[in-house]
């Protein structure tokens, strides 16, 4: 099999001019989007609710079929894959999906049997703090525990690509940190992730590249850093003590080296704060999508 190489990474998914309309809808939900997901990257699919993120994900995990355009996985048409495709992928849905009257262990053991390659699920349960509760019925679990069990379920087959929808939603900071660390480790070990989330801090911390979706189209696609540079101001703000007063000044980032005033402040004044004016992903989200990120 020939694998195309792009900027140092194999292409896991290629989506070309993808269009999709639900049978009962008049309008198209996905309107001709194109992007690639490279091996070993965390790709964030961002945007407000209802813009087509979940639909795109459902097409990539073969839950939706009657689309137009091309979707290929490992350089083969996605439609040519049968059930063996699911040996390669792991899916963590936003809402916890478990058999509630079965214990965590029974849930895990049932799904584990379906895969050829299996990981040590006890290790995962221990890491996520669920091991001591593994013989409890899932109906007795808190929402956070169910979310963590979702994550274990997604990793059971040590997938090549992981689809995660709001993986830290409903988790306390400690458990959110564990999950984020595990996602990073998974990526460091060569795993690929498609991440859908509204938490821009998670995106900033985890994603190599992000795509912002608006009304079924991709409006921006780049690395978080490039997006911040593109949408931010190339300025640096400095607050310093000027006698007993605090003075705030702003400098053009492109002409810093020859700026005598800046050199004077650095050499002779006490600097209180110094910030480059790059923007945040939250601001970019609002600017690009036109929607406040309250979700």
């Amino acid at each position: 099999m020939i694998i195309s190489v792009n900027e140092g990474g194999f292409i896991m998914f290629t989506v070309n001019n993808l269009t999709f309309r639900y049978p009962r809808n008049k309008d198209y939900t996905i309107k001709g989007i194109s992007f690639e997901i490279k091996e070993g990257e965390i790709f964030g699919l961002l945007g407000p609710s209802g813009v087509g993120k979940s639909t795109t994900q459902k097409i990539l995990i073969k839950l939706l079929h009657n689309y137009r355009g091309e979707v290929s996985y490992m350089n083969e048409n996605l439609n040519s894959y049968g059930k063996e495709f699911y040996q390669d992928i792991g899916v963590g849905f936003e809402m916890p999906v478990h058999f509630s009257k079965l214990t965590a262990e029974e849930n895990i053991s049932f799904f584990k049997k379906l895969y050829k390659f299996k990981v040590d699920s006890d290790e995962l349960l221990k890491r996520l703090g669920l091991y001591k509760d593994k013989n409890k019925k899932v109906s007795q679990f808190s929402k956070g525990m169910k979310v963590r069990l979702n994550f274990v379920r997604a990793l059971l087959n040590n997938p090549k690509i992981l689809f995660l929808d709001e993986p830290t939603s409903g988790l306390d900071p400690k458990n959110a940190r564990i999950i984020k660390d595990m996602i990073k480790e998974y990526k460091d070990n060569g795993g690929t992730v498609l991440l859908t989330t509204h938490l821009m801090n998670d995106v900033d911390e985890l994603c190599n590249r992000v795509a912002f979706m608006v009304d079924g189209k991709i409006s921006e696609i780049d690395t978080p850093k490039n997006l911040k540079l593109k949408h931010g101001e190339r300025r640096v703000d400095i607050e310093y003590e000027d006698d007993s007063n605090i003075t705030k000044v702003s400098f053009d980032l492109d002409n810093l080296s020859g700026d005598k005033k800046l050199l004077d402040i650095i050499n002779n004044r006490k600097i209180i704060t110094m910030h480059s004016k790059e923007t945040t992903l939250d601001d970019i989200f609002i600017k690009v999508t036109g929607v406040e990120n309250h979700e």
Partner: protein
């Protein structure tokens, strides 16, 4: 098809944990109660009717219950992104359902052998349960596809019983009769089902047994094709789209 066995094992476990198997045994106990309070000692001719009721109605109901649980808990979504295909999913549900009907048959037969008099071909009855429960489980899947909720499914089942089960029983006990009815009734699957059950008593002619077998096998194949074709649509709805 390796994962069919894993799915069957999982299905049986869930039927136990969700008390579906318990409900099935409870219904079997009700049938035993019916047999117990029947004055007649020889229940050979009553027995096939009870098994007919069970194989038709419980097969449709049980498969609907398990599928609604999966839809409700979102586990259908998880199954859909697991390395199984739709035929494995559908067949595992149907097989387990048939097993549940066989269990009921065995419980009833055991009771009848110990406490009553019965003289029928149990292997013939077993074959009838397999064919009839298989077909009606598939029908239960179809009804579940098109039911908004569990109450809706019950209503559809009730309608099926009214339209397809009742006339067959009325015709069998000669409450309705006539040349046209006798012929027309062969169109509906419940007539073939009833004939297969009654065949175990030796009351049915050989040609009618073969016709009923051919009918149920053909109907099951057609029903399986429909279930399979409509599965994707149901899966999309069931996965929360």
């Amino acid at each position: 098809m390796n994962n069919v066995f894993v799915l069957i094992g999982g299905e049986i476990k869930r039927m136990k944990k969700y008390n579906i198997l318990g409900a099935s045994v409870f219904v079997a106990l009700i049938w035993i109660g019916v047999l117990h309070f029947t004055e007649a000692e020889d229940i050979t001719y009553l027995f096939p009717y009870l098994v007919f009721f069970d194989a038709v109605s419980m097969a449709m109901l049980m498969v609907g219950v398990t599928m609604f649980f999966e839809k409700q808990e979102g586990t259908l979504k998880t199954l859909l992104v697991s390395p199984i295909n739709k035929s494995e999913y559908i067949l595992s549900k149907v097989f387990v359902n048939v097993l549940s009907n066989i269990l009921t048959l065995l419980l009833l037969y055991l009771y009848a052998r110990i406490f009553k008099e019965i003289d029928l071909n149990i292997l013939g009855l077993l074959g009838a349960v397999i064919l009839v429960a298989f077909f009606h489980s598939l029908l239960g899947v179809i009804l579940t596809y098109y039911s908004k909720d569990f109450t809706d499914l019950l209503m559809k089942m009730f309608l099926y019983s009214l339209i397809f089960m009742l006339p067959v029983i009325l015709e069998q006990v000669d409450i309705i009769s006539g040349q046209l009815i006798d012929k027309l009734i062969y169109i509906i699957p419940t007539k073939a089902s009833m004939s297969l059950f009654l065949a175990s008593t030796g009351l049915i002619e050989t040609w009618e047994i073969y016709l009923s077998i051919a009918y149920m096998v053909t109907a099951s194949v057609i029903m399986y094709i429909i279930v399979s074709k409509k599965f994707d649509e149901f899966a999309v709805k069931g996965s929360g789209v």
